[in-house]
């Protein structure tokens, strides 16, 4: 029971800075998140909010020469990823975490057949004895048919460029799921694909992840995709997590002003016109706002938002919001808000 509730992946107050010619770009600014075994988690945010950087940090695939991690820890199955030796890291990549990248074209090597690449992955996972080629081949064939690709034998012997984008991404998923790794990180796996293919792959991914009891971290910019795929969601803005909750809470009770704005921006199939969008642009990471990073764009910003960083407040079970509108200071804020509103009303 103890084991069950323990998070398999936990990030604690992680900061990641990039070296640039102007100084450090503080791209990830103290994020904390937890992923439990068998859970499907979504990391949602707009481009440049640090979601891919965070996930690359877990895999330790960031370019080491321009990275600076001033604070924070990443724990994966009881080990701190940031202090791992090379061997431990290699072991984690081979047996612990798998990743599906955004571009299925560059994820596969064009000079080897799909079969050869799958076999390599199976070989390095160390689950099968090296001599047992036949068995590994069986496993690879099974993996290809599990992602609903017709004629696995033919696909094993084809090169990536002979397959369509959708088929390639299916192969990437097969490769990610072929070995019994515990955590699957999917970085916008379908953003380059057509909507009908995207739908099929998402449905399949969901079934496979549930079937194999993997934990899934889905990185996406689409709230719709998150709604269909994940149980719990983290909304990222400007290198911070602004809201985290169960997926149903997000749509019934969005709380952070950014989340609310983001939801309004999504054009609906039912019509109802366009929203005006969120005012302003993503912050400059080299000189970020001193307090809450969203406050220059926030319509409800208060004085305190410009001065201090908000810490997450639990407003309902499992629903955390990093905003001064909530928590201990909420009432205080409300009063201030009202006066603000009044002032505005009189002014206008």
């Amino acid at each position: 029971m103890e084991q069950q509730t323990k998070a398999m992946l936990s990030i604690e107050d992680l900061m990641i800075w990039y070296k640039t010619y102007r100084g450090y770009a503080k791209v990830v600014d103290g994020i904390s998140l937890e992923v439990f075994p068998g859970e499907k988690v979504g990391l949602v945010g707009e481009s440049g909010c640090g979601k891919t950087t965070t996930m690359k940090a877990i895999m330790q695939t960031l370019p080491a020469d321009i990275i600076h991690v001033p604070q924070g820890e990443i724990w994966f199955e009881g080990q701190n990823v940031l202090t791992m030796t090379k061997e431990q890291l290699l072991k984690m990549r081979r047996t612990g975490v798998s990743m599906i990248s955004q571009s299925p074209l560059s994820a596969l090597n064009p000079v080897f057949t799909v079969g050869e690449q799958l076999m390599d992955i199976i070989k390095y996972s160390g689950q099968y004895s090296k001599a047992n080629k036949k068995e590994m081949r069986e496993v690879a064939l099974e993996a290809i048919s599990s992602v609903m690709l017709p004629d696995p034998e033919r696909i094993m012997n084809s090169h990536p460029h002979q397959l369509s984008g959708g088929m390639r991404q299916r192969i990437c998923i097969a490769a990610a799921l072929v070995t019994p790794k515990h955590l699957l990180i999917a970085d916008e796996p379908c953003s380059a694909l057509d909507v009908t293919i995207q739908d099929q792959i998402h449905r399949m991914l969901r079934v496979l992840v549930e079937e194999k009891q993997r934990a899934l971290v889905m990185i996406t910019h689409s709230l719709g995709v998150a709604r269909e795929l994940v149980d719990r969601i983290f909304i990222m803005y400007g290198g911070t997590i602004v809201e985290s909750c169960y997926i149903s809470d997000l749509f019934s009770n969005p709380s952070h002003p950014y989340t609310v704005g983001l939801l309004e921006c999504v054009p609906r199939l039912t019509g109802g016109g366009l929203s005006t969008g969120i005012y302003g642009y993503v912050p400059d990471y080299i000189n970020p706002p001193k307090g809450c990073r969203f406050c220059p764009r926030c319509s409800k910003a208060m004085d305190i938002c410009r001065e201090q960083k908000p810490s997450p407040v639990e407003i309902a079970p499992g629903h955390h919001v990093a905003c001064f509108l909530y928590g201990d200071r909420a009432q205080e804020k409300e009063a201030q808000n009202k006066t603000d509103y009044k002032a505005h009303g009189e002014g206008g």
């Binding site: 707009e46 909507v195 009908t196 739908d199 969008g277």
Partner: protein
Amino acid sequence: MSNEILRLDNLKLHFDIGKNTSVKAVDGVNLTVNECEVMGLVGESGSGKSTIAYTLMGMYQQTGGDIIFDGQALERKKPRSKSFRRDVQIVFQDPGSSLNPHQSVKEILSLPLKVHKIVPKNQIEDKILEILEMVELPPDFMYKSPNSIGGGERQLVSIARALCSNPKFIILDEPTSSLDVSIQAKILNMLMKLQKEKRLTYIFITHDMGVMRNVSTNIAIMYLGKICEIATTRVFYESPLHPYTQMLLSAIPVISEEEEALKSKRIRSEGEIPSSVNVPSGCSFHTRCVFKSDICMKVDPEMKEVGPGHFVRCHMH
């Protein structure tokens, strides 16, 4: 109709790629666009929606059929006339590649002003400022390079460039598909505001059905170089008839129950769009259609009018 501005009459564009094989990128498209209308063109990649736009602009020579713009058929062999180049503009999808990274915004915007002699040379700077104001960009953008501004701002500069020559008709080729939703909303609003103010006609190409619902007046849906269904926006979303339309709608990730209700319960997305080199016989959609019967594999259905302004190309209707 009296106020029709563009008509495509059985437009065909085939690329020869070897002996006796050709890609039928556009294969017999009939489409009418009226003034001040936003015609949405939806389809998956490889459906030929962008090819139609490029053919209209004269980047490709059509294999057959006619393009009638403003009551005049465009000549097939000749380059487009100067007045056409002024009246019709295009905004491309990729804001990274549509602005020259080695020019300032001022240089970029002054090209159409110079070529079409919109204003005398000494007033170019003022005109640029006026256009920047139109798209709500601050005046200091004049001296910025496209590399130093964000994707949304770049797309605004592209739109500003299209507005320079006071066009009547703008083709928007996926103008927001590479942008974030919060910026997308801003750009779409801007486009719709300009459309109303300047009485522009748009062809709006996108694969995003959510965007389409909120911007277009009419929608045409394309599959493998052919149009399968044309309808006004409301009809299109509330009672889609073609199985492909229904499949597309069902595939969209949505964020509310009301939207979920619009999706077809019977159809789920299956299969992939076939290569346009080997277009399936009969109805080209039959390989992915759940309702297919024998006739679909043999006979290509004709376009039928099933309601006012609602056309479907399907044997079931």
